[in-house]
Symmetry: C2
Subunit: 365 residues, 2 copies
């Protein structure tokens, strides 16, 4: 059975079509025969279903390529091969999107539900295959998240030892029931936080802003991002630096002083974090620092009282919309979140634009 590589695709005849496409979902029918993507041909070579592929490229003299020489050639990406092979090993039929048969080009592979194939009309996953050394832009992850409904978007990472990690990419909805009415308070702006000296218990013990300076009570310390949010909605008035306690800044000035302090200690990242903090609070979710988890925030969807606090559900990392993810950093965040039974969510936002939310979770297809 002859199969010929033309520099783009591998073409074979009727018998190959019956044996590979009709029976096992490789390639697509074409003019009575079958057309295979190089990665499909590589898998057939690997399995011994094809002995060789004839190299029909000019200057290659019809070389007969076995699996070893085909894989070592530039015809097929080893990363694509490892992902294709692994999904086949897991019992899936799948189609490379490079041959443009599939209208929506999201991902490198369209994976059908187990027991289904390219003849059917359902898609289980849209898989993008990358090396651990590739960078994946926020845009690419958003495209995978948007694929949802017509196959779950999946990033498949091949690490340097050829092990695979599958990451499911979604657009989560952030929502909770944490809403509390607060009475006005006044605080001192220190170098990197605000101290509220006579806080009502609602501030920390119910609405979960800040924390007490001492276990036994006393002033509540607010982070700069909490203080900026509370100043922006009129709850907090701020006294700056070494000034008198009576010398409270005018409405708006206090907010500006906190924001400027935030920018001076944190740069433009402060504005991004404040925007995300505000969106979380507006959505009814209480954000607290995610420092111990290496994230910006951990969030609680339902806070009635700090004495009766549930488990925080989500870790949030705030990033620029132009951020490029290193797959290894993604692996770190996903592994950590899994270990503490939370989900990692990336909040993509510029200083002034809206927020796109992306969740990433380990997946076993």
């Amino acid at each position: 059975m002859d199969a010929t590589y033309d520099g783009d695709l591998v073409r074979a005849g009727r018998q190959a079509r019956e044996q590979f496409y009709d029976a096992r979902g490789y390639g697509r029918p074409d003019d009575g025969g079958v057309v295979l993507a190089p990665v499909e041909a590589a898998h057939l070579l690997f399995r011994g279903d094809l002995d060789v592929v004839v190299d029909g490229r000019e200057g290659h003299d019809g070389d007969r390529l076995d699996f070893r020489s085909f894989l070592a050639s530039t015809a097929v990406s080893e990363v694509a091969f490892f992902v294709y092979k692994d999904l086949r090993d897991r019992g899936f039929y799948l189609t490379p999107t490079l041959d443009s048969r599939v209208g929506d080009e999201t991902g490198d592979f369209v994976v059908y539900p187990r027991g289904k194939g390219p003849w059917d009309d359902t898609v289980a996953y849209r898989v993008r295959a990358v090396s651990e050394r590739a960078e994946v832009t926020a845009d690419e992850l958003q495209a995978l998240a948007a694929a949802d409904g017509d196959g779950t978007g999946v990033l498949a990472v091949v690490d340097e030892e050829s092990e695979l990690t599958y990451l499911e990419i979604d657009s989560p909805t952030i929502t909770g029931s944490t809403h509390h009415d607060l009475e006005p308070v006044t605080g001192d702006l220190l170098a990197d936080r605000v101290l509220v000296w006579d806080p009502p218990t609602s501030l920390h013990e119910r609405a979960f802003y800040g924390q007490r300076l001492d276990e036994n009570g006393g002033p509540v310390q607010l982070s700069l991002v909490e203080a900026a949010y509370l100043a922006s909605n009129g709850t907090l008035s701020v006294v700056d630096g070494e000034g008198d306690a009576g010398d409270a800044a005018q409405d708006g000035d206090g907010e500006q002083a906190v924001i400027e302090r935030g920018r001076s200690v944190e740069g433009e990242r402060f504005d991004r974090r404040l925007r995300v903090y505000s969106a979380l609070r507006t959505a009814g979710v209480a954000p607290k620092t995610g420092f111990k988890f290496g994230a910006d925030f951990r969030t609680y969807a339902h806070v009635d009282s700090v004495d009766d606090l549930g488990h925080s559900e989500t870790l949030v990392r705030v990033l620029s919309p132009t951020y490029a993810f290193a797959p290894r950093d993604l692996a770190l965040d996903v592994r950590l979140a899994h270990g503490v039974r939370k989900r990692i969510v990336f909040a993509l936002t510029g200083a002034t634009a809206g927020i796109e939310w992306l969740s990433v979770e380990r997946l076993t297809p």
Copy 2:
């Protein structure tokens, strides 16, 4: 009882010395009285042991500063105060190093064992206190690690919500018993790995290089860093790209081809990682990819056979000696390592210099 801030230290008389230094280890005796660091005075104000500190700075007219106004002034760092207070709450006496009483200036505080004080001759911890927003250089961590023997080196991080995380910094010794004699092998250099087509079982199944292409056996895939190491010690000959299998590169050429490939996919980081990989193997430790943990390597100290593999003990992250750590990234690595019962070790190395090892672990003083 009068205590006066002179712009540098707080000075008080004999009664204060008896009450604060003699009885509870605050400050140091000086000319019959006592000299306090501002953070010590802040703690005495916080506790109500001092009512006010008189501001003796020029232009401050002898203002009487209570805890609130002293903390809001520039006299005392809130980060230092939170750390000082927390260690006092935990039952330790400690001395700020800024007053140069302590010869070795490593860290911001010298902490005595519980029940001991500045009159005694033993040190439990040397603590450096930083905000989560500060960067900590590799040099600073190395100084803390070097303090060992005269107090454990500790980094105390105050996060934006004023919570404390203590990290113990050490210089670990890397050693293991993984040594295997290998027979020569030949492999194909692909885009991002090397395939050894007829591997002896010793290569993967005993010495734990690479992994099999298929569960049922077949070729062994080596990562570029494994391949470069095996080429450097003469075990591996490499065939490049689309060339004939018989066309093995000359000794040395193969090693160079792998290293150049590594640099082209990874930049100068490849040389650093190869240096660390080689040092780990030389120390009798088997490094494998740490990708799933977001690290460079995970390591196994004792590998006799892959069928009988123990738990990997260590995660290794390779960094430049000029690296500046963000405390939040440290928290992420330490938390993840703890969750998977491993220790995180940073290998600091340039492209050509030696390697410094730093381990970081969560500590509860």
